[in-house]
Amino acid sequence: MSDVATPHSTAGMGQKFLSNRNMVLTAATLAVLVLMCGVFATLTDRFLTVSNFQNVMRNAAPVIIASCGMTTVMIARGLDLSVGSVLAASSVIAGSLAVAGVPLYLAFLLAVLFGAAVGAVNGVIIAGLAVSPIIVTLGMLNIARGAAYLISPSAILVGLPSGWSFLGTAKVLGLPMPIVIAGIVVAVFYVMTSYTTFGKRIYAIGGNEEAARLSGINIKRTLLWLYVMCGMTAALAGVVLSSRVGSGDPNIGVGFELQVIAAIIIGGTSLSGGEGRILGTVIGALIIGVLANGLNLAGVEPFWQFVAQGLVLIVAIIVDRLVQDGVLKMRKGA
């Protein structure tokens, strides 16, 4: 209660404190990223090149895109495990439609709308029936994966039109298309979470659902929208990824949801909701991307990458726990 006696002394500091706290946390994650880059740069001289950075970013783009939707879900204290399967289903839906002669832009659009529909189903069940999001989206993980195989049993689709790879390989102003798309998605979600009324309400729902309810916020509708957006970003990630690999493939994205969740947790979004930053998530996705790329270039066996990724995730969760418990005080003077 010592706060009471000190409001004057802290007022000046408290003024910009919200952004301060976020800036400190973001800077800390960024420092980890820079440190990792430093380590890999000393390990291999192939790491620190412009083309390799573009490579890392291009590979990270699907994770970044899907993480944006998922970050908002997790800020609202939800979870969506189905993103990897939605990504695969979206990939084969776009591919099958393209093979069947549907114009490409329409095929991509329908795939994204499919993602929205899956998200809507998730959202209706989770928000409407107050069911655990883990179980609902775990079920959806299986359903969407099954749907992907049903649509395209022969694994990889052939006979795709020539423009298929545009989203994955074209360049805009010298930047690879996946990076441009990820940038746009990040910008949209950043503005939404930081500057809109809807964004404030996401934090309120995750931080104190009862307070949000008593403030007259329609929690169910908000959650529904978040899951719809999460499904859409997962499907968009699927379109971008399959465009880059040049095919529709029901096998892609196995374990993708774990990469997404890892990126978000590493980026500082709290598992207990109410806290999280899109920019942190982007850094988290890049940390995972750099880790995979660097270990690869350093000649480490691919299986070790799983171990490394898992370790990073666990460390990030422990740090989250410590921050929540106030062990790592991000308080006055931070």
């Binding site: 409001p7 408290g14 003024q15 910009k16 404030k200 309120a204 931080g207 008593l214 109410g274």
Partner: protein
């Protein structure tokens, strides 16, 4: 003084509730209650735990729906079916658990749900100006609108909630025990805020257990007992002693068996037990003795039992059972020493719902008496307990969830009788059980004390406490504030637990 109506009858009340009723399974929480509130008054509600004041508050807040009764706001009939209705009627609640979102700023909290801005964008400049005006108007200028809510004290959080109520154009502001997390200086400040609100023509419903506050603030005071309104008095028309007399006076039921034996040698001795919730607890409970613990909800009764049982960490103090020191902060050590606890939350902490009646009964036996379960002795032991306590169950293999609350509670007590229990800690053991089962549980507690156990019995129901206990200790603000003999009156207990205002202990950053 039964029904004084002090305010000019020509003036129509801000809020009028007529014939309110609300029942829960087995309990009539509110019955035929009339209540009104005028602009510019502080109307205090008092009564014992469970007297009905919290139910009234929850109904007015739209958190619970009344079974019977009508509401008028400014002379117009209104519904109070949910929090939105109640908000639309101009009622705002400053609850004990404050609804502040840590991740948002002060202004974002105040304006949540009604944010300024266009096209969905949050106008943080406008929000800060609006919020700062509201904070200034209640005298909390030192709170800055763009400050994060995370670091606010309890008093500052209350200020945020009051500002939010004003933002919602609330005309009725309900405060439920608002001073319990506050320090003295903060209480003074809150009272100043209340004076401002009163002067601004708001109607304030103020629920408190603290007579001193009621005396100071209340323009009118309504006393509740057993779900009924006993009466409403104006400021100065009744002394605190008068009010206490209005709150008590229930008939003692003949549910309590007479005691034969005299307390023997000390079994449980607690000295200087302290942690963030309790302060310097000294307690001696003898063989054959039932010690009743009285006190309001939040007075530290449950926390004291949990500390003795090793469930909550203690910072200092000693516990001995029959002169042998008990290692602190360890439930297994407490159990080995013969301490048993029946927790307040039966469903979540007393029983294991998925297990059978037999497995629940033997849960202590299995771990502390005979780890290699021999079917013969084990089922004999279970059977003995079931019969001894009169647990009514179709079979011991049936799930315990199928049993009534009273029979579940018998199992929760009975599981301790299969180990070397010498001290039995009971936390509200009759909560949520029907009258018949209550009587049986009283008999069981009585019998166990007769057989030599030392029993510590926490209850919010004074009649059962006075009927059962040999001696009563009263807690307030985490401390023991007095002791009474078993033939004390309800007035004496209430006076100790309410009039004797100890400073509350504050814990953590967000009480």
């Amino acid at each position: 003084m039964q029904h004084s109506e002090p305010v000019d009858p020509g003036l129509s009340p801000l809020l009028r509730a007529t014939g309110l009723g609300k029942s829960f399974p087995g309990v009539q929480a509110l019955s035929g209650v009339n209540f009104d509130l005028f602009a510019g008054e502080v109307h205090c509600l008092i009564g014992e735990n469970g007297a009905g004041k919290s139910t009234l508050v929850k109904i007015l807040a739209g958190v619970q729906e009344a079974d019977a009764g009508t509401f008028e706001v400014n002379g117009k009939a209104m519904s109070f079916a949910n929090p939105q209705d109640s908000q639309a009627a101009g009622v705002a609640c400053i609850f004990q658990e404050l609804a502040v979102v840590d991740g948002l700023s002060v202004s974002e909290n105040i304006l949540l749900g009604d944010e300024p801005g266009r096209f969905g964008f949050f106008d943080s400049k406008a929000a800060d100006v609006l919020a700062q005006d509201l904070l200034d108007s209640i005298g909390f200028s030192e709170l800055r609108a763009d400050q994060p809510a995370r670091d606010l004290s309890a008093a500052q959080r209350q200020a945020v909630m009051i500002a939010k109520a004003l933002r919602q154009n609330a005309r009725v502001i309900i405060m439920d025990e608002p001073t319990s997390p506050l320090e003295e200086a903060e209480v003074r400040k809150l009272f100043k805020v209340i004076d401002r609100l009163r002067a601004a023509g708001k109607g304030i419903i103020y629920v408190s257990h603290k007579m001193r506050e009621i005396d100071e603030l209340g323009d009118r005071i309504t006393v509740f007992k057993d779900g009924h309104r006993v009466g409403t008095v104006t400021r100065g028309a009744a002394t605190p002693e008068d009010l206490v007399r209005m709150m008590v006076g229930r008939k003692l039921d003949t549910l309590f068996p007479a005691r034969d034996s005299q307390p023997g040698a000390p079994t449980l001795e607690v000295r200087g037990l302290s942690n963030p919730h309790i302060r310097n607890i000294d307690l001696t409970v003898r063989r054959n003795e039932i010690l009743g613990i009285a006190g309001l909800v939040g007075s530290g009764r449950t926390e004291m039992l949990r500390a003795i049982f090793g469930a909550d960490r203690v910072s200092s103090g000693t516990v001995t059972v029959e002169n042998a020191p008990v290692p602190l902060n360890s439930i297994p050590a407490a159990i080995e020493a013969g301490i048993a606890m029946v927790p307040e939350e039966r469903r979540s902490a007393g029983i294991v719902p998925v297990l059978s009646v037999a497995d629940n009964t033997a849960i202590i036996w299995d771990q502390y008496v005979n780890r290699r379960a021999h079917d013969g002795p084990r089922s004999d032991a279970i059977q003995k307990i079931i019969e001894m306590l009169g647990v009514r169950t179709a079979s011991v293999t049936q799930s315990i969830s199928a049993l009534s609350g009273g029979n579940q509670q018998k199992v929760v007590v009975g599981k301790w009788l299969l180990s070397q229990t010498r001290v039995l800690l009971l936390d509200e053991p009759t909560r949520g059980v029907d009258v018949g089962a209550k009587k049986e549980i009283y008999q069981i507690i009585h019998d166990l004390a007769e057989q030599g156990l030392a029993v510590v019995f926490v209850s919010s129901e004074l009649p059962e406490l006075l009927g059962l206990a040999d001696r009563i200790v009263v807690m307030n603000g985490g401390e023991i504030v007095g002791g009474l003999s078993g033939d004390a009156t309800e007035e004496q207990v209430i006076e100790l637990s309410m009039l004797h205002a100890a400073t509350p202990i504050l814990t953590g950053e967000h009480p």
